[in-house]
C-alpha cells in the first residue's frame, strides 16, 4: 500500500496490522491507525490487553470445542441443559445465533469448519472424531445438524449422518426454508422447493 517513506515505522506497522483484518481496506486501516494515535493512552492500552487476553485466555472447550475461558465451557457444565441432544454447528459464532433465537436447550458441538471436497478440507480437518467420542456412552439420543444449506454444509451433514447413524443415534437436520424478508421473485428453486416441503398450516 502507498504509505510514504515519511510514515513513522510504528504507524506503518499498525496500519499494516489493521489492513490484514477482514473487511478493512487500506483507507480504513489508515483512519483506524491515526485514531489510535489520538486516543488517551489507557484506551489504547485497554485495546491492546483485550487482544492479548483473547489469545492467552481463550481456548477450545475440551468437550464441545466451543471457544471459552473456562474448560469445560458454560454450555457443557450447565446442568439445566439437556445432555441427550447435541446441536452441531460449523463455527462457534453459530452458537450465539442459535442461543439468540432461543428454543434449544441442549448441548453443542463445534466442527470449526465444513467439509470442502474441492478445496481439500476433509473429515480429519474438522472436529468430527470428538463428536463420535461424545456419542459412545449412549446418553446422547439426538444429533441436530445445524450446518449451512450450502453444498459444503449439506455434504458435512450427510457425512456425519452416515458416520454416526450406525451408532443408534437419531440424526436430524434443521428445516430449510425461506429466510425472513426473502423476496419470492429472487428466491432460487431449491430454497423454494424445500420451503414448500416444510410448509405449515396457519
Amino acid at each position: 500500500m502507498a504509505e510514504g517513506a515519511g510514515t513513522p515505522e510504528p504507524i506503518a506497522r499498525l496500519i499494516e496490522a489493521f489492513h490484514r483484518l477482514p473487511g478493512i481496506g487500506p483507507k480504513s486501516a489508515q483512519r483506524l491507525a491515526y485514531h489510535i494515535l489520538r486516543v488517551p493512552p489507557q484506551e489504547a492500552e485497554a485495546l491492546a490487553s483485550a487482544i492479548r487476553d483473547v489469545k492467552e485466555r481463550i481456548r477450545f472447550c475440551s468437550i464441545c470445542l466451543n471457544i471459552t475461558d473456562t474448560d469445560p465451557c458454560a454450555y457443557c457444565t450447565d446442568s439445566r441443559r439437556d445432555p441427550s441432544a447435541i446441536c452441531v454447528v460449523e463455527q462457534a459464532l453459530d452458537i450465539t445465533a442459535v442461543e439468540r433465537a432461543g428454543g434449544f436447550r441442549g448441548r453443542y458441538h463445534v466442527l470449526h469448519g465444513v467439509l470442502n471436497p474441492i478445496d481439500g478440507v476433509g473429515p480429519e480437518d474438522l472436529h468430527i472424531k470428538e463428536l463420535v467420542t461424545r456419542l459412545a456412552d449412549g446418553e446422547v439420543k439426538e444429533v441436530i445438524m445445524a450446518t449451512n444449506s450450502s453444498l459444503e454444509g449439506e455434504a458435512t451433514a450427510m457425512y456425519i449422518h452416515r458416520l454416526v447413524g450406525p451408532l443408534g443415534v437419531k440424526v436430524t437436520r434443521l428445516a430449510r426454508g425461506l429466510p425472513s424478508g426473502a423476496d419470492l421473485e429472487y428466491t432460487d428453486d431449491l430454497t423454494l422447493s424445500r420451503a414448500f416441503e416444510g410448509r405449515q398450516e396457519i
Binding site: 477482514p22 471436497p117 474441492i118 478445496d119 473429515p123 453444498l151 452416515r162 429466510p179 432460487d188 431449491l190
Partner: protein, 266 residues
C-alpha cells in the same frame, strides 16, 4: 478501436467458490460459450442477496456478467437446474464434485472445448436421474479424449499392433493400452483384466445412457477407477482434492449404491 460491449451473457455450471472479504465470493464457471472463467459476486454471502442460491457450486445457471478491469462481476444469475438429488446424496454429490474438479483442472480460462459442456451437463443429469456413480468412468474416458489425451484402446499405444482380447497393460506414460511385446518399454501403469478393457472401449464409443445402463459391479469399477486415476495423475501431474473426499466417503458405513446383479459387458 470499436468499443467492446461491457456486459455479456453466459450459461454454465458453477465448479467452485472461493470466499473473499466479508461478503463476496469468486466463482469458477464452466460455460457453453466462454469455457472456464472466474467472476466475482458482490455481497452474495448476505442473506438478502438476490443472487445467493443461484450461485451455488454444482448449479447450472444463466448469468449476466459485467466486464471488470481485473475480474468480471456477476450482475444477474438465475438457476436453470439445481441438481437437488445430487446434492442431497453424499455419493452422488462427491462424484459430481469430482467431475467438476476434473473440468477445472483439464481446462484453461476462456478456451471452450468442443463437447465438454454437454459432457458435464450429461453427467450431472445422469446422476440427478439416479444413475450409479460408476458413470464417472465414462466421464474420465471422454474427458481425456476431448482434452487431447485420447487413450489408445484398440491398438498398442507404442507399436500400433491391434490388441487381442486379453489382460492388457494400461500405461499412463504411453497414453493407453500396450501390447505384451511392448510391455517392457512402458513405465508404470496397471494390468487390466479383459472385462475392464472391454468396459474402457465401451466408455470410449458408447453414449452416456448406454454406459450408465451397464451399472458396473464394485470390483470392476474399482479396477478401472484405480487405473484411470493413474492416467489422470500422470496427465495433470497432481492429485485431486475430490479424489481424497471420494475415498473418505467410500470408507463410511453403507448405504452404498447397490451393486448390479450382473455387470458384464459384451
Amino acid at each position: 478501436m470499436a468499443e467492446r460491449p461491457r456486459t455479456y451473457t453466459a450459461e454454465g455450471v458453477i465448479l467452485r467458490r472461493r470466499n473473499i472479504g466479508e461478503a463476496d465470493s469468486i466463482f469458477t464457471v464452466y460455460s457453453d460459450r466462454e469455457g472456464k472463467f472466474d467472476a466475482v459476486a458482490r455481497g452474495v454471502r448476505k442473506t438478502r442477496s438476490k443472487m445467493r442460491g443461484h450461485l451455488e457450486p454444482l448449479t447450472r445457471s444463466r448469468f449476466l456478467i459485467a466486464k471488470g478491469r481485473s475480474l468480471d462481476v456477476f450482475a444477474q444469475a438465475e438457476t436453470v437446474h439445481h441438481y437437488r438429488a445430487v446434492r442431497e446424496d453424499l455419493d452422488r454429490a462427491a462424484t459430481a464434485v469430482y467431475c467438476a474438479e476434473l473440468v477445472d483442472r483439464f481446462t484453461a480460462e476462456r478456451a471452450p472445448q468442443e463437447g465438454l459442456y454437454s459432457l458435464l451437463l450429461g453427467i450431472l443429469d445422469a446422476l440427478e436421474d439416479g444413475c450409479g456413480i460408476t458413470v464417472a468412468r465414462y466421464f474420465e474416458v471422454q474427458l481425456l479424449a476431448l482434452s487431447g489425451y485420447d487413450l489408445a484402446l484398440d491398438a498398442c499405444a507404442l507399436c500400433t499392433t491391434p490388441l487381442a482380447a486379453e489382460d492388457t497393460l494400461l500405461s499412463p506414460s504411453a497414453g493407453g493400452l500396450v501390447c505384451r511385446l511392448c510391455r517392457p518399454q512402458a513405465e508404470g501403469g496397471r494390468i487390466l483384466g479383459v472385462r475392464a478393457v472391454k468396459v474402457l472401449r465401451y466408455a470410449r464409443r458408447a453414449t452416456l445412457d448406454a454406459f450408465a445402463a451397464l451399472n458396473l459391479d464394485p470390483d470392476l469399477d474399482a479396477e478401472l477407477r484405480t487405473a484411470l486415476a493413474l492416467v489422470i495423475r500422470h496427465t495433470l501431474e497432481r492429485d485431486l482434492a475430490a479424489t481424497r473426499f471420494l475415498e473418505d466417503v467410500r470408507r463410511l458405513p453403507g448405504p452404498h449404491p447397490a451393486p448390479s446383479p450382473d455387470g458384464r459387458v459384451e
